[in-house]
């Protein structure tokens, strides 16, 4: 009997666990280790952050679901990977530290035959002084609890505006090396919509600040779409959305420091700026969760297994090259580690070979450009394909049988506002492939029949359908495996 150990139960880890339990769970063991007791459908945290959904609507208890599915669950965080085992045993293992009430702080080891690292990111609020809800002055929507707190503070501002006071809202990215601009983008529109519904929009100044070179970059180097008889860039599309909603924007910005009520930032041209704010939601940069690795002699091999940013190296081409020589071929296909063939990394946990957006530095030498997005639909696609490969390897295949390069997969983003079926609105964007392939699609790097953007109620309905579909599917209710991921 083989044991497949999965570190992390986010979109990537939970998707892999679901399929592996279905395909090989009766003969083999599937073990999930996650520091969180609850699963969170993160895309809907945006609605929690404006009070349109409760925490309970976007989370559920993992153990209950895993008990029914025959998956072993440990509420713990991974500390170190020992892919060669130890001096006493050749069985590879992971050291974990429990986070449940009964065993908080206790450590144990779990051996494995196959390991999937799907830990997601460390939300690196410490990268910018004053950033984040715990030790800083900004809010976040990265977790359901953060989103709840964001809504509480938003409602306080609305109450003040109802009394006639004016307020400034700053939303965007909290560092020059952030990704996940889409979440902040969606939150901006939801805040705008919430203020309009409350009748106080005229009292609010909303400012978008981000590390993108231009609006609509989203860490993917921007996209081109067909609109109004032209092929146009998402920059035009995004700026139109901002102007329509009376939202100002600052791009090419690295937020360097946040004080109570004041954001300091640096621009690519080297100039420095300050923004006064009353409410600010800034996405933090992501880093690896800090896993270490050791060989059988106990020597530290963390630098061999992980990239400097803490993400696990897989089958990508990590040879440093200038931007002009980057290609779709650089991106990982199987997510298998090149040294330890039973080790995989998916979702945010794998190390990208390089960004997608062109790296930029300010005249002061500060890097200000987005890092690549790898959340949501791409995470699930990687998880399903890695689960298929491990299923086949457990059954005798010598190497991974499926591939899911980000240069051959698509992504969808539904930035929906409001909770009313007929008064809501949404920006729907689809991109294929996520990493542009200028060999296959020489003009724009992408298939323009699958790279689209539009505004309307349909996207709003789609977001609702996606929310309830993925919550149902993730709870592994009857028929879940027949639903698309």
């Amino acid at each position: 009997m083989a044991r497949v150990l999965i570190l992390g139960a986010g979109i990537a880890g939970h998707t892999a666990a679901r399929y592996l339990s279905k395909w090989i769970g009766k003969k083999h063991e599937v073990v999930v280790v996650s520091p969180n007791a609850k699963w969170n459908w993160i895309p809907s945290n945006i609605w929690v952050g404006v009070g349109d959904m409760t925490e309970e609507e976007v989370t559920f208890d993992l153990k209950q679901v895993y008990d029914k599915a025959g998956i072993t669950f440990h509420q713990a965080k991974g500390i170190s990977i020992h892919p060669e085992g130890s001096k006493d045993s050749a069985s590879p293992y992971v050291t974990v530290e429990f986070t449940d009430e009964a065993r908080t702080g206790q450590q144990d080891t779990i051996t494995y035959d196959y390991l999937i690292n799907a830990t997601g990111p460390k939300l690196n609020f410490n990268a910018t002084e004053g950033l984040g809800p715990d030790n800083g002055y900004t809010v976040s929507v990265c977790t359901a609890k953060h989103a709840l707190e964001a809504n509480e503070k938003l409602q306080e501002q609305i109450e003040a505006m109802k009394k006639g006071e004016e307020r400034t809202f700053v939303i965007g990215t909290g560092h020059g090396m952030c990704t996940c601009q889409g979440a902040a983008f969606e939150y901006t529109y939801n805040v705008d919509h919430t203020l309009r519904e409350a009748g106080v929009r005229d009292k609010a100044r909303i400012i978008w600040i981000s590390n993108e070179y231009e609006l609509g970059d989203f860490g993917m180097g921007g996209v081109h779409i067909k609109r109004g008889g032209y092929v146009t860039n998402a920059k035009t599309f995004s700026e139109s959305l901002m102007v329509e909603r009376d939202i100002e924007w600052i791009t090419r910005a690295h937020v360097s420091k946040i004080e109570p009520g004041k954001i300091h930032y640096e621009l690519l041209d080297g100039s420095m700026g300050e923004l006064d704010f009353d409410f600010s939601m800034l996405i933090p940069p992501f880093a690896g969760v800090g896993l270490n690795a050791f060989d059988k002699k106990g020597e530290d091999i963390t630098a061999t297994l992980f990239a400097p940013n803490g993400f696990l190296k897989v089958d990508g081409d990590y040879t440093p090259r200038p931007y002009e020589e980057w290609s779709a071929e650089d991106w990982p296909k199987t997510y298998q580690n090149p040294i330890y063939k039973n080790l995989f990394a998916i979702g945010i946990a794998f190390a990208p070979p390089h960004p997608i957006s062109k790296p930029m530095k300010s005249t002061n030498g500060t890097p200000i450009s987005p890092t690549p997005p790898r959340t949501g639909m791409p995470s699930a696609a990687m998880a399903v394909n890695v689960a298929k490969s491990i299923r086949d390897m457990v059954n005798g295949a010598e190497k991974p049988t499926h591939h899911a390069s980000m240069a051959e997969m698509g992504a969808a983003c539904m930035a929906s506002t409001g909770s009313h079926l007929f008064r809501g609105s949404a920006v729907s964007m689809t991109v294929y492939p996520v990493v542009p392939d200028f060999v296959k699609y020489p003009a724009y790097g992408r298939d323009l029949s699958l790279t689209t953007g539009e505004v309307g109620l349909a996207g709003h309905w789609m977001k609702y359908v996606l929310h309830y579909t993925f919550m149902y599917q993730s709870k592994m209710k009857p028929g879940w495996s027949y639903m698309p991921d």
């Binding site: 109004g228 051959e408 969808a412 007929f422 699958l450 349909a458 698309p484």
Partner: protein, 53 residues
């Protein structure tokens, strides 16, 4: 202070396209949005199918 009779042109909001009344109407037109909903669904399914290898 004299009343402004001209508009400042070279500002952030001056350049991006803004939707016409017809575009805004179509964004909320139920029959049209039902058609768009079907089309977005088909595109999403094609995206998902193309992402499985």
């Amino acid at each position: 202070m004299p009343k402004a009779t001209n508009r400042e042109p070279y500002e952030q909001t001056y350049y991006p396209p803004t939707p016409t009344g017809f575009t805004r109407y179509m964004r909320n037109s139920i029959p049209w949005q039902i058609i768009r909903f079907i089309i977005i669904n088909v595109k999403m399914l094609r995206l998902m199918m193309n992402s499985q290898h």
